[in-house]
Symmetry: C2
Subunit: 158 residues, 2 copies
């Protein structure tokens, strides 16, 4: 038997394993994102602004109803800080569906949120929202929110 055959086989196997990109487990990535969103909502219930801010990418764009887009993390921080100082302000959200790009570096979720604030008469006003979030996997492997957009929706089942 020619001694070259094993060498060729080794070279081929090495090259083929090297050029196959690791398959992305899209279901696992999607589950991780859903859980990340749930955990982030729990963090939003705290007053820990730094922890809350960790969810957004540096270049994230927040798109609240009624005002221009809030572009970049420093502007988002100002917006969140102001919201936290509103009387009676609370917000929570939960993801409903997730889709991950086959490359595993972009994803979007449909979510819903509910927020409360105390109006000038002292009444607690509850607002229901539908939400689209877009996520990017950063170089360190962590998912960061790049788009956070919502608008008003009728009370579920209301």
């Amino acid at each position: 038997m020619n001694r070259r055959v094993p060498l060729v086989a080794i070279v081929l196997v090495t090259l083929l394993s090297g050029c196959t990109r690791p398959a992305v487990d899209l279901e696992a990535e999607g589950e991780a994102l859903m859980q990340l969103s749930r955990d982030w909502s729990d963090v939003a219930a705290t007053n820990d602004l730094d922890a809350i801010m960790a969810g957004w990418a540096e270049d994230a764009v927040m798109m609240p109803p009624g005002i221009p887009a809030v572009e970049g993390k420093p502007a988002i921080r100002d917006y969140v800080e102001a919201a936290m100082q509103l009387p009676g302000f609370q917000i929570s959200w939960e993801p409903l569906t997730v889709h991950v790009a086959s490359s595993g570096d972009m994803a979007y979720m449909i979510e819903r949120n509910v927020s409360t604030v105390t109006d000038s008469s002292g009444n607690l006003v509850t607002t229901y929202g539908k939400v689209v979030t877009v996520w990017r996997k950063d170089a360190d492997g962590s998912w960061k929110n790049v788009i956070d957009m919502w608008n008003e929706t009728p009370q579920p089942g209301g």
Copy 2:
């Protein structure tokens, strides 16, 4: 020279070219999407409902302000048809930024829109919106809209 060398070289080149995925030209894909959105806005100016509907995927979700999500192309068709029948209804939009996943099968754009409708007093009311759209490349290679969401924003420069 050993005659096996060229054979090995041919095998290697064939295998390597076969296992390298075609690189996605993300800039070209992004440009194509921006143009697709501009063209779609031009189509929206017509009364050709079938042509307008071609932009959405079968499972697209439209998320207009103030109402529950409009899920799936048949429901979106009903929504668009009803909008087209409002007195003085017109809508146009333009894309501002685009991001494409490295796999080239998912993308999102930030866009802006402007719509008009005649109110009950006969006055033309103009509404400005900021928009997030999410797109999926279908098996036939065409981009389809899967998320179409907007909310109100102050008049640009107003």
